[in-house]
């Protein structure tokens, strides 16, 4: 798994918003079958990194390689075409629609000369996707999302992301705001995504979660990549140290107190 080319690789990417340098010369990679955790304090640049990968705002400089080929991501459609799916924290599900309708939203299948919705086929595929992810807690895919628990909603959002032959799935704080049992469900799901050969990026604040499922850990601090660890070779204390005091290659901005 270490000799294969990374599915997604960023080389020296930078991004600034006006005077604020959000990302500086960041290297990042994730391989198929690997769960890569992306950790860092608030404002470390985690969200900027995933939003740039998703095409919401492109990188200023640096290279993006997908399966070894340089690519340019200018919009959400570009990243979706490559097979990069992002599950955002607020999930973007319509409460008044049922599970199947949400999973196929914007990509509905139609049949016949009247181009009517192919409900049977969509329901079958949705059931199959959930079954392949061993999501057993959703009793019927025909109940509305409003009636689902937080963990179930997360499962639906993840299933929606992986249904489209995606290769890279980025999960933004998937366990924030979940209870213990539901966090368990979602973490199991994240593990299974890796086992199914997807490249998984897990953005999280919660180191317990990270140590539970991640194979590797990338630490961002003040927009810079300060460490990449194999989970097996590192302790939580070391990761916390990197998050709060990792060595920076460039001291950002004129504000000296940031370094202190």
């Amino acid at each position: 798994m270490n000799d294969t080319k990374p599915t997604l690789e960023l080389r020296g990417v930078s991004k600034s918003f006006g005077a604020v340098q959000a990302l500086y010369n960041v290297d990042f990679s994730v391989r198929a079958g690997e769960v890569m955790a992306l950790v860092g304090d608030n404002g470390a640049g985690k969200s900027t990194l995933i939003k740039s990968v998703a095409g919401i705002h492109p990188f200023d400089s640096g290279e993006v390689l997908f399966e070894g080929q340089p690519v340019h991501i200018h919009g959400p459609k570009d990243s979706a075409k490559l097979g990069i799916e992002v599950v955002y924290q607020d999930l973007a599900l319509a409460d008044n629609l049922d599970v199947v309708q949400n999973m196929f939203l914007g990509r509905e299948e139609t049949t016949g000369i009247l181009r009517s919705l192919d409900e049977v086929d969509m329901e079958k595929k949705a059931d199959e996707t959930l079954a392949s992810l061993s999501v057993t807690t959703i009793r019927s895919t025909r109940q509305t999302v409003a009636g689902l628990s937080g963990g179930q909603r997360q499962s639906v959002a993840v299933a929606k992301a992986v249904m489209w032959n995606s290769k890279v799935v980025i999960l933004d704080e998937p366990t924030a705001a979940l209870g213990v049992a539901q966090t368990r469900q979602v973490l199991d799901l994240v593990k299974r995504l890796g086992e199914q050969g997807l490249a998984v990026v897990l953005v999280s604040h919660n180191l317990y979660d990270v140590f539970e499922v991640a194979d590797k850990i990338t630490v961002l601090r003040l927009g810079q990549n300060v460490a990449v660890y194999n989970r097996k070779d590192v302790t939580q204390t070391q990761v916390v140290e990197a998050i709060t005091a990792g060595k920076l290659s460039k001291v950002p901005g004129p504000e000296a107190e940031v370094v202190a």
């Binding site: 008044n96 914007g106 139609t110 009247l114 181009r115 919705l117 049977v120 086929d121 079954a131 959703i138």
Partner: protein, 417 residues
């Protein structure tokens, strides 16, 4: 999440994710339906009960209410509001409002009356119909573009429309006062009746197509290994439609019969229901109303959906205006005014379409319009003034919204808002 009395969603690990193929029993289905009602998913239950109460009350006060003649009157009286309310549903589903439908219907009615007026250069029936409906759709698209692209609240844009199109009605009528419709097609649209044999054939064909559709769905789902509704329920649904059509057609032909406008509206109802429930566009309408941001991220062109819905709404308002002009056989400076706008919006809301978007159906407009027309008709039979009519209709609307809000609270407590 607050789960006071949660439905049994969380099952033990290892339980099948899908209902076992072969379909659930009627008992399961009834239990689920009853659980839904207790949690505030009222469906059409309250409105049907409401209609029965209205019928009992008016019949006890005036024995003319439940007669064949009054039944036919009721169909004709409810037609215009039904049509406009069906359009309103599309806008309400988005969480928007259209206050201009009343005078848009007036504009269409006036266009029909003026263009067909036999002054030597009158237009033929079909081009007139196209022009009147086209004007309605165009008005809706224009208002929709302003709302979606510039981002002005629909309340304000259509309020401007309410004033503006009222002015257009007055300008078009000019100093004529009242224009009598003298085109036989438009005159007969709401006032002529379908031959009895035709009505029976259409009714039987309708039941057959409905039954065929349900059986086809059952066959497809069984073939795909998915559960389907219990067979008894399919039988009950087909039976209910057959019984309803049997009663409507039989009773109507004890008097004058089924007016042509009824057939047209039945056709519109079927097409709109199909569009909302069975097409990609309809799905996107519900998605935009439920969570516009989710729809946008899913790649749905939210602006286009909004503009289309306002177009549909105004188009149906125009058809409603033509129906109203036909029923009254004339248009005047008051066309599109009075209670039409508020009755139409009230009909959709009484029927159960939410003002907050994402929840509702074409059926709700029909049932709501039936309630409003029944009250209007019944109070008329009792010889009560418009003042009383408005007060009673207002109270019914208030009751409907209160029931909806209570139901909504029930849904929230059950985590199904």
């Amino acid at each position: 999440m607050t789960t006071a009395t949660p439905p049994p969603i969380e099952t033990a690990p290892g339980a099948p994710a899908v209902a076992a193929p072969g379909g659930e029993s009627l008992r399961d289905y009834v239990q689920r339906w009853w659980a839904g009602i207790r949690q505030g998913d009222l469906g059409s239950l309250t409105i049907v009960i409401g209609l029965i109460i209205i019928a009992i009350v008016f019949q006890s006060q005036n024995s003319n209410f439940l007669t064949a003649g009054n039944f036919v009157n009721l169909i004709v009286q409810a037609a215009a509001i039904t049509c406009i309310a069906m359009g309103i549903v599309f806008v309400l589903l988005l969480g928007e409002i259209d206050l201009s439908v009343g005078y848009v219907s007036g504009v269409a009615g006036v266009i029909v009356a003026l263009l067909t007026f036999p002054d030597g250069n009158q237009l033929a029936t079909f081009p007139t119909l196209l022009l009147a409906l086209g004007a309605g759709v165009a008005i809706g698209l224009l208002q929709g573009v302003i709302i979606a692209k510039i981002g002005v609240p629909s309340f304000v844009v259509t309020l401007a429309g309410l004033l503006g199109w009222n002015g257009v009605v007055l300008l078009l009528i000019g100093d004529r006062g009242t224009v009598i419709i003298q085109n036989s097609f438009f005159e007969g649209f709401a006032n002529n009746f379908v031959p009895e044999a035709t009505a029976w054939i259409v009714a039987i064909a309708g039941v057959a197509v409905y039954a065929g559709g349900l059986l086809w769905e059952r066959y497809q789902r069984t073939k795909a290994g998915l559960g389907h509704a219990p067979d008894v329920l399919i039988l009950l649904r087909v039976g209910a439609l057959a019984a309803a059509l049997l009663i409507v057609v039989y009773v109507a032909y004890q008097d004058r019969g089924i007016p042509y406008v009824f057939l047209v509206l039945a056709g519109v109802y079927i097409v709109l229901t199909y569009v909302l429930n069975r097409t990609t566009f309809g799905r996107h309408v519900y998605a935009v109303g439920g969570n516009a941001e989710a729809a946008r991220r899913a790649g749905i062109n939210v602006d286009a959906v909004k503009i289309a819905c306002f177009g549909i709404c105004s188009g149906l308002a125009a058809l409603g205006g033509i129906i109203l002009a036909s029923r009254l056989r004339s248009v005047d400076t008051n066309s599109g005014g009075g209670s039409i706008l508020l009755y139409s919006i009230a009909a959709a809301v009484i029927g159960g379409t939410s003002l907050f978007g994402g929840r509702g159906s074409v059926k709700s407009a029909v049932l709501g319009a039936l309630v409003i027309a029944s009250i209007d008709n019944g109070l008329g039979l009792l010889g009560l003034s418009s003042g009383t009519k408005f007060v009673v209709t207002g109270l019914v609307l208030l009751a409907a919204v209160v029931v909806d809000s209570l139901a909504r609270r029930g849904r929230e407590q059950a985590g199904r808002a």
